[in-house]
Symmetry: C3
Subunit: 468 residues, 3 copies
Amino acid sequence: MTLDPDRLFPVENATRSVARDLYSRVEALPIISPHGHVDPSILVEDRPFSDAAELFIRYDHYVTRMLHSAGVPLDRLGIPRVDGSGEQVDPRSVWRIFCENWHRYAGTASGYWLATTLSEQFAIDDAPSAASADSLFDRINTALKTPEFAPRALFSRFGIEVLATTDDPMDDLASHRALAVDSGFSGRVIPTFRPDAYLDPASPGWTHRVETLAAWNGTEAGDYSGYVEALEGRRRYFIDHGAVSADHGVLRPDTAELDAGEAKRLFDGAMSARLSAAEAAVFASHMLLEMARMSVDDGLVMTVHAGVLRNHDTHTFRQFGPDMGHDIPVPTVFAEPLRPLLTRFGNAPDFHLVLFAVDETVYSREIAPLAGYYPAVYAGAPWWFLDAPDAVLRFRAAITETAGFYKGSGFIDDTRAFLSIPARHDMSRRLDASFLAGLVRQGRIDMASAERIICDLVDSLPREVFKL
Amino acid sequence: MTLDPDRLFPVENATRSVARDLYSRVEALPIISPHGHVDPSILVEDRPFSDAAELFIRYDHYVTRMLHSAGVPLDRLGIPRVDGSGEQVDPRSVWRIFCENWHRYAGTASGYWLATTLSEQFAIDDAPSAASADSLFDRINTALKTPEFAPRALFSRFGIEVLATTDDPMDDLASHRALAVDSGFSGRVIPTFRPDAYLDPASPGWTHRVETLAAWNGTEAGDYSGYVEALEGRRRYFIDHGAVSADHGVLRPDTAELDAGEAKRLFDGAMSARLSAAEAAVFASHMLLEMARMSVDDGLVMTVHAGVLRNHDTHTFRQFGPDMGHDIPVPTVFAEPLRPLLTRFGNAPDFHLVLFAVDETVYSREIAPLAGYYPAVYAGAPWWFLDAPDAVLRFRAAITETAGFYKGSGFIDDTRAFLSIPARHDMSRRLDASFLAGLVRQGRIDMASAERIICDLVDSLPREVFKL
Amino acid sequence: MTLDPDRLFPVENATRSVARDLYSRVEALPIISPHGHVDPSILVEDRPFSDAAELFIRYDHYVTRMLHSAGVPLDRLGIPRVDGSGEQVDPRSVWRIFCENWHRYAGTASGYWLATTLSEQFAIDDAPSAASADSLFDRINTALKTPEFAPRALFSRFGIEVLATTDDPMDDLASHRALAVDSGFSGRVIPTFRPDAYLDPASPGWTHRVETLAAWNGTEAGDYSGYVEALEGRRRYFIDHGAVSADHGVLRPDTAELDAGEAKRLFDGAMSARLSAAEAAVFASHMLLEMARMSVDDGLVMTVHAGVLRNHDTHTFRQFGPDMGHDIPVPTVFAEPLRPLLTRFGNAPDFHLVLFAVDETVYSREIAPLAGYYPAVYAGAPWWFLDAPDAVLRFRAAITETAGFYKGSGFIDDTRAFLSIPARHDMSRRLDASFLAGLVRQGRIDMASAERIICDLVDSLPREVFKL
C-alpha cells in the first residue's frame, strides 16, 4: 500500500510528465474548503480522536454503507439507534470488520482516500486485512494520543485556510464564535446557511420550525411577512458570523414566482395543514426563488444540491435516522425548473448560483450550457458518488468544451471525514493536472495556459466563486 | 483478419503489459454462464449445425438487424414469417449477403465476436466479402460436418462449466432432464424461471396462461391463492431441475405492495377483463414484489432486465414475431420503482437481486448506489447493446468508484448464439484485465489486489451471486 | 498559439502514428456541408467582411454567450436590440473585450476553432490578450481588405464542394438562384426546407404563415387540404432550387397519425384559436409525420434536431431576439415519440431520416439501436454543444458498437461562422482518425478497413445520406 508519487496521472509517459509538472505548481497551495460537513466543535474542543473506528468508520457513511452492502448490520458498526436501543460495540471489532472487508473498497473513492490517509498521516503501508487489523488499530490509536493528531494540529498541518461548515438556520453558531475569538486558533471556520427544512411545508416539523423562526424574530408564527423577515434576519446573523453561502438541497430544483397574495395564501394553508402536496411543492418552489432574491440582496452565494432521494430504505431510516448511506440519486433536470429563477436573477450583478448534481447526464446537457450563458451560474464540482477519479475526469470532459474552466466552482470536498480532507483536495489537484496535461499533449491548449489554469482552479476560482 | 494476441488491451505499453499479465491468470478458466438463451435441445440432440447461415445469421438478431438496417428485407435472410408465408431462401445466398455487408460490422460488438469465432474456431483469416463468401461458406460447412463441431464437442472444447437457459414457467424442462441423466454428457445445463407473461395482465394471452397454471396446480383459474401457489410450485419444479435464478423482463421496474384483498380484487378484475391499464400495471408491480418474496423464501436469485420497448416496429412484429432486432431501450429508473421491494426485502438474508439496464445513465446514478448499500443488490453486467468493449469499460468506470468490484454480477453473455460464447467471455476477461491494469498503473490499486480481483470477477463472483 | 500538426491525435506514440497516417488520406478532401446556417447573400454580394469583430464575434452566439457568461452585457458586444434601441459600439472595443477574455475559451470547442482559424487563415500566432488585441484587430482588418479574403475566394480556398443553407419555406431563394446562374461562381450552394414555424400552431405567427402559404398556393387560408398542398408545393420549389433535405427542430420529436377528418378538425381549431395546448401539440405531431410522408414521396432527406428549450432567458429574448446563446438542452427521447412515424415509414425505400440530439444519453440508448435496425434511420453527427473533441469521441464510442460506421450522417458543421468551416471539418477528420487508430491498435479492426472507413466517413457517406 505504498503511495505512488505519480498516482492518478495519465499512463502515457510524456503526458504523465506534463501532469507531474502542472501538479507541482499547486501541490502545496493552501486548502480552501467552501462547502462541507465537518463538526466545528471538534476544533473548539480540540480533544484527541478516540480511536480508529470513530475516526474512519462510524461517522463516514461512505464507509459504513459499503460494509452494510456486504451484509454487516449497522448495529455491529456501533451506529446508535435513534431510540437509544443499540448495543455497545467494541471499536476494535468495528475496525476489524472494516479491515476484513478492505478488498471491497478496491477501486472506490473511499478506498483511495483511506489508503492515502493511512499512508500519509500514519505512515502505514500494510494494507488493512484480518491479519493486520489489530496492529493497525493500535498504531493509529497510539498516534491519535500524540499532540500532532489533535484536531487543531491537523487543521494546521493540512494547510486549511478556510473551512465551511453546514448549519441549521437557528444554530447559534457558538462554535464559530468561539473559534473566531480564540487567540490560539488562526484558521477561518465559517458557517453555511442551510434552510431546506424551513422552506418546504412537506418537511417533517416544518410548522414547529416556522414558530421558532417567528419567536426569534418577535413576530407571529402565522405571519408570512414575519417568516420571510426572519429568514432574512437569520441570513444576516450568519453573514455576521462569517458565512459566504447558503446551501439548498432539493429533490428537484423547481422554482416559482408567486405574487405576495398567493404566497401568503399558501403559507396560511401550510400553517394550518390544509395544503395539498402539490400546493406545498409550489410554496417550496416559491421559497427557493425567494432565497435567490435574498442572495441577490445580501450577497450570500447560493448553492443548490439537487436530485437525491433521501433515506431510500425506510426501515433503516426509522432505526438509525438520516445520513446512513442510502440516499439514492434520481434523474435530474435543471433547465426547466430553474427557468423562473434564472429569468429573474440569472443576470443580476454579483449573484452567484452554483449547481451540483449526482445525475451526471446533466453536466453536458444542462449545467455547462447554463454556466456558459448566465453570468450567475457556476458548475459545481462533482458531488458525492461522483467525487471520484474517473467521474471527475468525466465531469471535466463534459463541462469544459462548453463552459471552459472559468465557470466552475473549484473543488468542493463536501465531507464529514475531517482526516480525508487533504487526500480529497490532493486527488482533485492531480486530476486537474491530468486533464490539462491531456489537452496540452493533444495541442488543444498551450503549456503556459495550462499553468495559469491549474493555479486558478485551485486558488483564485474558489475565492472568486465563494467571495472569499 | 488475423487475431491480435493483445486485442482489447490498453495501447500504452506498460499498461498493456500489466493487462497481459492479469489476463493470463484467467484466460483458461472455465466458462460460467448463469444467464443466456441457448436452446438446450441442440445439446440433447447433438446434431451438426446445418450451415454457416443457420449458425451465424438466421437466429442471431444482432446480426440480422444490421443487415435489415442496410435495407435487406428479413425475407431475404430466410427468416420465416409467422403465417408461414415466407419464401424459401438458399442459405448460401444469405451468407453472401452477410459477407457483402461485412464492412458494416466494423467496430461493432457482433463484428468482433464473429471475427474472433471465425478465426479461433474455423481458422479463417480471410475477411468476409463478396469475393470470399462462397469459399468461406464451403469451408465452414465442411467443418460443421466433423465431430469436432457437434454441439457437445463444442460445449466441452469451450470449457463451459455451467450454462443457464431461459424458460417458460410451464416448460416441462425435458431437455434439462434428458441432459441431467445422460451419462454421455457431463456439463451442467440449468433452466431459468422467466414468468413475465404470467405476471402482467396486459401481456397477450395472460388469462390463458393463468388457466394453464391453475390446471397444473389443480385449482380454479379464478382463484388468486391458487395462482400464487401455482407460481410457487413451478418455481420449486424449476429448482428441482437445477434452476438457480428467476428472470424478469419489464419496461419499468415498478413494484408495489398490496394487501391480500386488493391483490385478489385486481386479479379478479384481470381475469374478467375489467381492469384499466393503470390497474393492470399495479397488479404487475405487485406480482414483481411477490416474486421477490418468493425468492426470499425459495432462494432463487432474482434478476431484473428493465427498460426495453419490445417490438418497436409493429408491422415487422406482425410479420415475423418477436426478437427481430427492434427492441429499443428507453430511459430507465430503478431507485423509486424498486423502493417498495427494497424497503421490504433489501436487507433479507441470502436474497440476491441483480439489476440489468440498457440505459447506461442508470449505472452511476442508481445501480451503483443501490448495490453499494443494499446487501441484496448486485450490479448486472452490461446488457445487450452495452455488451461491447467501450460500453463495458464505461460500465466499470461508472460502477466501481461507488460499489467496488464485489457487488457486480460477473460477466453474463445473455446470448442465443452458441458459437459466440467463448469470444464473449474472452472479451470480458480482456476488458477486466485492461480496466484493472489502468488502476494499477495509476497507483489506485496494487498488483496483488488486481490479481485477486480478476480471478474473483471471472470465477468466485458469479458462483457466489448465482449460488452455483 | 502555434498549431501542433498532431493536434487532437491520441497521445500514445504508436496510436498517434496510425492516426496521422489515416488523417493524411482525408486531410485534403473537399468539404461537404449538407447542413448549416451561413447566409448565402455573402457569397452573392462577395463583399469583404468589415472587421474582426463582425467576422468572429457579433454573429457567433457560441462566442458571445461565453462573454455574456462572464458578465459582459450583449449591448457592449454591439448586438442590436430588436427595438433598434441598442447603442453603437466600436468594433475595436468588442474585439478587445473578446481578447481580454480569451482565457475563458481555453479547452472549449469555440476556442479551438478560433485558434485554428487565426493561425491557419491569418498566420497569427500571438494569443489574443489585452496586450495583443489592437494589433490583432489591425492585422485581421488588413487581411480582410485583400482579395484573398473575399467570401468567394475563401469558399474556393476552403475547398467547399457543397454548402447547404437553412431557409424559411416561403423564402424566394433568390440568393441560391443568383449563385446558380453566376458564371463567376462554381460552388454548389443549396437551400434546406425548414418549416417548423408553419407546422406548430403554438408557434407565434402561425396563422399568418398559413395565410402566406395559402396565398402562394391560391387556396383559402382555412382550407386544410390547401395547406398541405402548399407545403408540398413549397418543397417542390426548394427541390427545384437544389434542396436535398428538409430540417425539423422540435422540443420533443412526437409524431402522430391522424385520420383526415381529425387533422382537419384540429387545423380548423388552430386557425380559429380554439385549440388547447394539448391539441396543438397533437396537430404538430401529425404534421411531423406528414413531413415524413412528403419525404417518402418527394425524396427530401428528413433531418430532426430535437431536445432544445429555445430562448431560456425570457428577458434577453425580448430584448435581442432568438439565437443569443441561451437555448438549453433538455432530456430527450426518440424511441417512443418516433414510433408512429417509424412504424409507418421506417422501412420505406429511399427514405432517409437523420436524428440529431444534444442530450448525449440518447446516443447509445436510442439512436444507435434505431439506426442499427431501421433502414431509414441515420445517426446525426454530434450537434451544437456536443460538436467538440471529447464529445465527438464519446459519440463515436456510444454509436459505433451498435450501429457501426455506416449508419451515421457524416460530419455536419451546422455553423453560422463561415470562417470556422475548415477548422470544424478538419477537427472531425482528426477525431475520426484518432478513434479509428484506437480500434486498429486494440486489434478491433485492421488497417485496411480503417483506411476505407475514414474515406467513407468524409466522402461517400455524406453524399449517400444526403443524396448528393
